[in-house]
Amino acid sequence: MSTRYQYRPAASERYSSPLLKAVGLHLLVAILLFASFSSAPEFEPAKPIVQATLVQLDSMSPSTTPTDQKIAGEAQQSRSPRADEEALEKQREQQQAAEAARAEQAEQARQAQAEAQRKAAEAERQAEAEAEQKAADAAAAAERRQAEEARKAAEAQAARERAAAEAERKKAEEEARRKAQEEARRKAAEEAERKAAQEAERRREQERVAREQREREAAKASALNELLGEETEFQQAQADRIGDQVAASYDDVIRRYVSQQWRRPPTARNGMVVEVRLSMLPTGQITDAVVIRSSGDPGFDQSAVQAVKNVGRIPEMQQLSSENPAEFNRLYRQRNLRFRPEDLSF
């Protein structure tokens, strides 16, 4: 640095002086800048506080204007005697350097301030954006929650409705099934009756024919036998086919008779169970009723036995036992009845 300084008076061309000055100034500025930042803490590194930076900026601007005037004045003085020139030059350069440093610092401060402002704005924007996002998130969450709740409520309602509908449907189905069964049973009974009537009619007819035949020719007796034989087989087949349906309808007959006679004692409760075995003659006459599984309540047991005994006779059984004694023997000569009330108020 000092070498360049001494070189300058030697090269005393007018045009080179400003260039050198400028170079020197720049160097000086650089040095001073460095020095001022390293040694002198007049300028605190700009803090990103908007107000503070603005104050510094304001206080700087008036100081720049007089310095500019000074520089202009000194430029004129540079044509004055050479003795002062150096000192003046030096002074000017120092001033310029200081000035430049100040300007630089101001610039830095401005930049810092701008940066701070930008950052603050950014922060604000970000905060705003974040807040907005949060609000949006919260709203979305609330909406989601509400939607979820609504969905759940709707689902629950739907489930309830489904359950109700299901119950309704089941009831309807049950009803339909029951009706169908009843219908089937009724039809079966009717059919059986009709068939029996037809059969009886046919038999009468055949007997008439047979009688006529017997009367006309004894020789045809073998044919008659054949015919009767076929008749028995047919009857058996028919009974087998409709046996189950007949049985179901006879169960119902017994159920109806016994229910009509069943007077439950005041101690009876829904869900009590007693099982009674009834014994019956082919005439439908009930000969016995005994408890085979007690409910634990003697009065309740007794009410079931009494209900069966009070029925006395089930005339419909006569038909079954005469038409299909095997079926009667299998199903009704002895039969268990399970008494399990469902219609009580307790």
Partner: protein, 433 residues
Amino acid sequence: MKRFSQVLLGLVALCVCQLLLAQEAIEITKGTDKATPIAVVPFGWQGSAPLSEDMAQIVGNDLRNSGMFAPLERNNMLSYPVRGEEINARDWRMIGADYVVVGQVNSTGGENLDLTYSLYSVAREEVLLSRSISGTRTQLRDIAHHLSDEVFKELTGIQGAFGTKILYVAAERFSVDNTRYTLQRSDYDGARAVTLLQSREPILSPSYSPDGERIAYVSFESRRPEIYVHYIRTGRRERVSSFEGLNGAPAWSPDGNRLAFVLSRDGNPEIYVMELASKQLRRVTNHFSIDTEPFWMDNNTIVFTSDRGGRPQIYKQSLGSGSPERLTFVGNYNANAKLSVDGRTMVMVHRQEGYRNFQIATQDLERGNLRVLTETSLDESPTVSPNGAMLIYATRQQGRGVLMLVSTNGRARSEIPTQFTDLRVPSWSPYLP
């Protein structure tokens, strides 16, 4: 060999199945019950002045009201025994009595007397129960109801509720703008009515506390609905709820510490529960539809009426959490549910699908089946006896409000006798000591 035995086993199993199928028991689930015929013979009396009450008659009425017994006419009785050992089984078999109740009342000095009674089974020809009850001449009805309770318990296994009380409101209209409302307490059968409160403005929804010591009701005495708790013994009254809008339908929690009621202070009627000691209030329902008529199922569950499904139906809400659960699905209107103490039977105002009249129906909460009990058409405010055997409801006959007593099995029904012209909002007491 092994294969053969397997086949044999299969055949045996098949045969057994066949046999079982053939022997399947016939299920009998319905009966044709009749009330059990019972004879309550007029009680003997050893004393000077005749007794003011016919106690045997009261016992007979009690048993009839349960719907489970049919007391026989006195005129048909062939003998009038007063002690168990005097009963001749044949006399009672002749007139079709299953059981006989006899009693003898003896004066024990001054106003005091005691009743010794026996319950006799005609079928077993033996005395089932023989006891003594003492009291004073002013307690004849109490003694009779107590006897009824014991006989009922012995024959049915169910605790009797003939010693319980009911509350109701009587309105006496003197002119267009002059009506006197009184809160009445009487025996369950309407006898011995006592006025607890009198007002020129309506009184609604009286309700007995579980300890039988307090009553909650809604009174319009300040021209707007307010809920009061009334101490029966002292007559002291405490205003517990006087919020803006509706204050209605108070219902006691089973532990007696809380009151559920309806407030409309938040816009529309919702169910609230108040802790009576601290007066702390808690909202139970929250729905834009009408939620009303709370009743406690247990200390943690409330049933209420809501039209949130479009039409009024009964819902159940746990106080802990969760959403309400709908309980009624039959009928297009179900409201004002009350439960029997055992919690198995719910009683409510019910309108059948396609009908316009309101009737009282019971719903078995275990099996779900619903039974319409009444044949009248503007039935409201059902209330159940603590044992669930009877219920009382309000209805209208020839333009006046009457209270009807009906057995839960639907067999017995009678009107509660009264001196007033217009009765409403009955409420059954708990078992009283």
